[in-house]
């Protein structure tokens, strides 16, 4: 076990865990932030996507020891009131079915728009291709990303 001081959603959190523990399980088991989801554990489905210094990363493959003082943002910290343009667009289009993958989808989409506020269809597809939605909400996700882009650019 080792002590780590993590910057999660703008707060310093001290935890004492095995150094190999992926951030996914630090968040879910130790910090009790369960919005970040476990889907595959091998960075193939995107359900565990968080932002590390603003970049979308798969938290299931991110050992706690590798993070240092880099800023971690989870779905719970994406916006204070749940009103990030991507979250709003998701509600406007009523994207979710079961909803399990959607936090990961939103984190990937919001990181994309941060870097590329006006993505083409192909750029959206490329960015979102690592996020599986078993319910098949892809057409709505794409629509919502475009609406969010429009509202960011407005």
């Amino acid at each position: 076990m080792a002590k780590f001081n993590l910057n999660i959603n703008g707060k310093q959190r001290e935890i004492d865990v095995d150094a190999t523990t992926p951030i996914l399980w630090v968040l879910r088991d130790h910090i009790k932030l369960v919005g970040t989801k476990y889907g595959c554990g091998i960075a193939q489905c995107g359900a565990c996507t968080i932002h590390l210094e603003g970049n979308a990363v798969r938290s299931c493959q991110l050992p706690v020891s590798s993070v240092g003082d880099k800023k971690i943002t989870t779905i719970e910290g994406l916006s204070e009131k749940g009103d990030h343009p991507v979250q709003q667009a998701w509600l406007e289009i009523d994207v979710p079915q079961c909803g399990y993958c959607q936090a990961g989808q939103i984190m990937t989409a919001s990181a994309l728009l941060e870097k590329n506020p006006n993505p083409s269809d192909e750029e959206i597809e490329t960015a979102m291709n690592g996020n599986i939605c078993r319910c098949g909400t892809y057409t709505r996700i794409k629509k919502a990303v475009k609406i969010a882009a429009n509202s960011i650019n407005a």
Binding site: L33, I42, A47, C135
Partner: protein
């Protein structure tokens, strides 16, 4: 208005204290979710009055409606309360929705399965709202000393118009709660609906997009331990021995032991499929610690002998299943299925004289279709929470058949059902997989042994290699044509491992004079379970691809050919047991033809069509696509569906879109193969799921407008799209697609 006796669902309306004081209610967390102004605090409800098991009304007029069925993405948690609110005559903005716990006294059929939630609850939900409205009116009539016939309601207010009296539902709720449940109630005329038929947002939308705990896997309780299992690596294997000492001393590990999931003498019901009867349980403090122990443990497995399993299926008499010994491979499955084609099969339906018709045929078209085992791959891996005490148990998790799970757990633990509480969490996908809740039994047994609350979590690999798959199927379609290219006979020979996909009384039965439908099965030790539109998901694909090919041989437009058959089934049906309405069937084909611009189908566009009837609903689809860079590019899917009254149109469209994307994904890529009992895929690096770039660019859903009571929607759009896709792909590649998945690497 329609007058309906409340007797059928009366049990549900008996005022019960179970809901009011039960510790399982979610409470009013919404109140604490944001900081309130003093004004908001003043407006908070001070008292709630329970009118019946489905709803309670606060003194301030706010209404809480319980959603009885579990939510797994079908959006019933919004749709079911909408139906209650409609008949109650309240504004949707004044409604709060709560997920009901399992309560067999108050609710019936708290299931996800068969796309039946809305269909089977429609009347009960309407009565719940209507009887409450009647009680509110009675309360006002008594207070005002006026006849109830003169009392009306509108948007949460009771009125006596001629004396200009009015009171909010909140004001009369207290008195209404004292009034006895009416013997019969008036339901609204469909034309008076204000909520049903309008699109309402998902009631959990905000919680989903902000990452609030909603799912079983998010469960946490004080002192909770985490458990994982190790199951045999191959079907046909069982536990032999393990070296658990090194693992027991690993950090954070509490215990390692084997558990028997079901006792030998347990009488299995339909959904009690359990792949591995004895498994290893590892229990510890945190997921990562348990995962590490799971990786480190050394377990020996051995082959099992053939055995029989008795089981009471959903319908029909008790069955005895043979679970054969052996380590099965997909290559052997293929050989066995091919061999079945020349063996005598069970005749399930016969009309006319098919043998003679085939002898006299001018032309015979014969095609064989196959489909592999499929894993459900719900995004939320299987998991369950159990807190088992000496004489009671608290259970919580994503369940499709909670009532049956509770019964099984009660028997397994030796604790009466009355002492078991079940909370229904949101399901991170179900598609049939969570009807088979052996993992709930596992969690309960582990908690009982540990004497502590336990959350059991499967890894993705445990889940994907753990069985309960969509079976592997094969069907041979054979059509006889006379010299005028009339379809004179149809022969269907269908089977599977270990279940036959045949629906003998479905279209085109009833439309062909000479018809023979046969069935066979092959035993296996690979476990299977319901998978979105069971059996239909294969039969639609094969049948609708075959009809396309027959239409081509005859030289007819594929839609016109189908409409011709349906016309015959409507006007002059063959046989009496045809289980579809040919007119509604034709209706969706005509609608999809119009909406997809089928008649303008030119060389630059490549369209494929299919239609199917299952789960009481009719769906037709046209896939419009191109082929780019050696890959299919699906431009558009047009879907017409007749599912009766649509409660929440936008959410209903979302569900149809999902069925279409899911169908295309499984048709193109879905496949689980086996080598010596071992599943050859165990995670999403090898099991290919459809992704955004591969899904249709546009999906256009059209509902047939009618006043028929609502029918299924979660499943019916899934089966036909396999064939609509295959038929469109044929236009582009000149190849017919007989084997699923259509884009498997193993196939030429």
């Amino acid at each position: 208005m329609t007058l309906v006796k409340t007797a059928i669902g009366r049990r549900s309306f008996i005022k019960s204290s179970a809901l009011a004081g039960g510790g399982l209610m979610l409470g009013f967390n919404w109140l604490a979710s944001c900081k309130m102004t003093p004004e908001q605090v003043n407006n908070l409800p001070k008292e709630w009055f329970e009118i019946n098991g489905y709803l309670k009304i606060a003194d301030n007029g706010q209404v809480t409606i319980m959603s009885p069925n579990p939510e797994g993405g079908q959006n019933v948690k919004t749709a079911m309360p909408m139906i209650v609110a409609e008949e109650l005559d309240i504004d949707w903005k004044d409604v709060l929705v709560e997920q009901a716990p399992l309560n067999t006294d108050l609710y019936s059929r708290q299931f996800i399965g068969g796309s039946q939630a809305i269909r089977t609850s429609w009347e009960g939900l309407r009565m719940a709202g209507a009887s409450a409205r009647h009680m509110l009116k009675s309360a006002a009539a008594e207070t005002w000393q006026l006849p109830i016939e003169e009392i009306t309601t509108e948007s949460g207010t009771v009125y006596h118009k001629s004396s200009e009296k009015s009171a909010s539902f909140g004001e009369v709720a207290s008195a209404a709660a004292q009034i006895s449940v009416p013997e019969e109630v008036e339901l609204k005329a469909i034309s008076d609906f204000k909520i049903i038929g309008t699109s309402k947002k998902n009631v959990d939308g905000h919680k989903i997009v902000t990452g609030k705990p909603l799912f079983g896997i998010d469960t946490h309780s004080e002192g909770m331990l985490t458990a994982m299992i190790v199951h045999p690596p191959a079907f046909g294997m069982k536990f032999k021995s393990m070296d658990d000492a090194p693992v027991k001393s690993m950090p954070g590990i509490h215990d390692v032991f084997t558990i028997k999931v079901l006792e030998d003498e347990y009488e299995r019901q339909h959904f009690d499929t359990c792949t591995f009867l004895e498994i290893v349980a590892i229990v510890g403090n945190s997921t990562w610690e348990v995962m590490n122990a799971k990786k480190a443990i050394s377990v020996e497995w051995e082959p099992f002998e053939t055995y029989n399993e008795e089981r009471q299926p959903y319908r029909g008499p008790k069955q005895t299943l043979t679970i054969p010994a052996g380590l099965e491979s997909s290559d052997d499955h293929k050989t066995k299925m091919i061999a079945m084609a020349s063996k005598k099969a069970k005749v399930v339906r016969k009309d006319g004289n098919p043998e003679a018709a085939f002898r006299k045929a001018a032309k015979v078209v014969e095609r064989t279709y196959t489909a592999p085992f499929l894993a459900h791959n719900c995004m939320e891996p299987m998991n369950f929470f159990a807190d088992v005490k000496s004489d009671s148990a608290q259970l919580s998790g994503p369940l499709q058949k909670a009532e049956l799970t509770e019964q099984a757990v009660a028997k397994r633990l030796g604790i009466p059902v009355e002492q078991i509480d079940v909370e229904l969490t949101r399901l991170g996908g179900g598609y049939g997989r969570r009807s088979y809740a052996h993992w709930a039994l596992e969690a309960a047994v582990i908690s009982q042994k540990m004497k502590a609350p336990v959350k059991l979590v499967y890894t993705r690999e445990d889940d994907m290699t753990g069985g309960i798959y969509r079976p592997a199927y094969q069907v041979i379609y054979k059509a006889a044509l006379d010299s005028n290219n009339n379809l004179t006979a149809l022969h269907i020979n269908a089977g599977g491992i270990p279940e036959s996909p045949l629906y003998a009384n479905r279209f085109p039965a009833g439309a062909v004079d000479n018809y023979l439908a046969e069935s066979w099965t092959i035993d296996t030790n690979i476990t299977i379970g319901s998978f979105r539109a069971p059996r239909s998901n294969f039969m639609a694909s094969a049948e609708q691809s075959f009809l396309d090919e027959v239409a081509e041989v005859i030289g007819k437009d594929p839609i016109d050919f189908r409409l011709g058959l349906l016309k015959k089934a409507q006007e002059n049906p063959v046989g009496e047991k045809n289980d579809y309405d040919a007119e509604r069937y034709a209706g969706v084909l005509k609608l999809v033809k119009e909406k997809s611009n089928w008649d303008k189908n030119d060389a630059t566009r490549n369209q494929g069509v299919a239609a199917y009837f299952c789960h009481n609903s009719y769906a037709a689809q046209v896939v419009d696509m191109t082929w780019e860079n050696d890959k299919p590019n699906i431009k558009k899917v047009t879907c017409a569906i007749d599912c009766g009254i649509v409660v929440n149109p936008d959410a209903a469209a979302n569900l149809c879109e999902g069925g279409i994307v899911d169908g295309i994904g499984n048709a193109l890529y879905g496949e689980l193969t086996f080598k010596e009992g071992v599943p050859e895929k165990s995670n999403f690096d090898s099991y290919r799921m459809i992704r955004m770039s591969e899904s249709p660019k546009e999906i256009d859903v059209h509902f047939v407008k009618n006043d028929i009571d609502p029918t299924g929607l979660g499943e019916p759009t899934f089966p036909p799209v396999f064939a609509a896709l295959a038929n469109a792909m044929y236009k582009l590649t000149g190849k017919r697609y007989y084997q699923q998945p259509f884009l498997s690497k193993d196939k030429a």
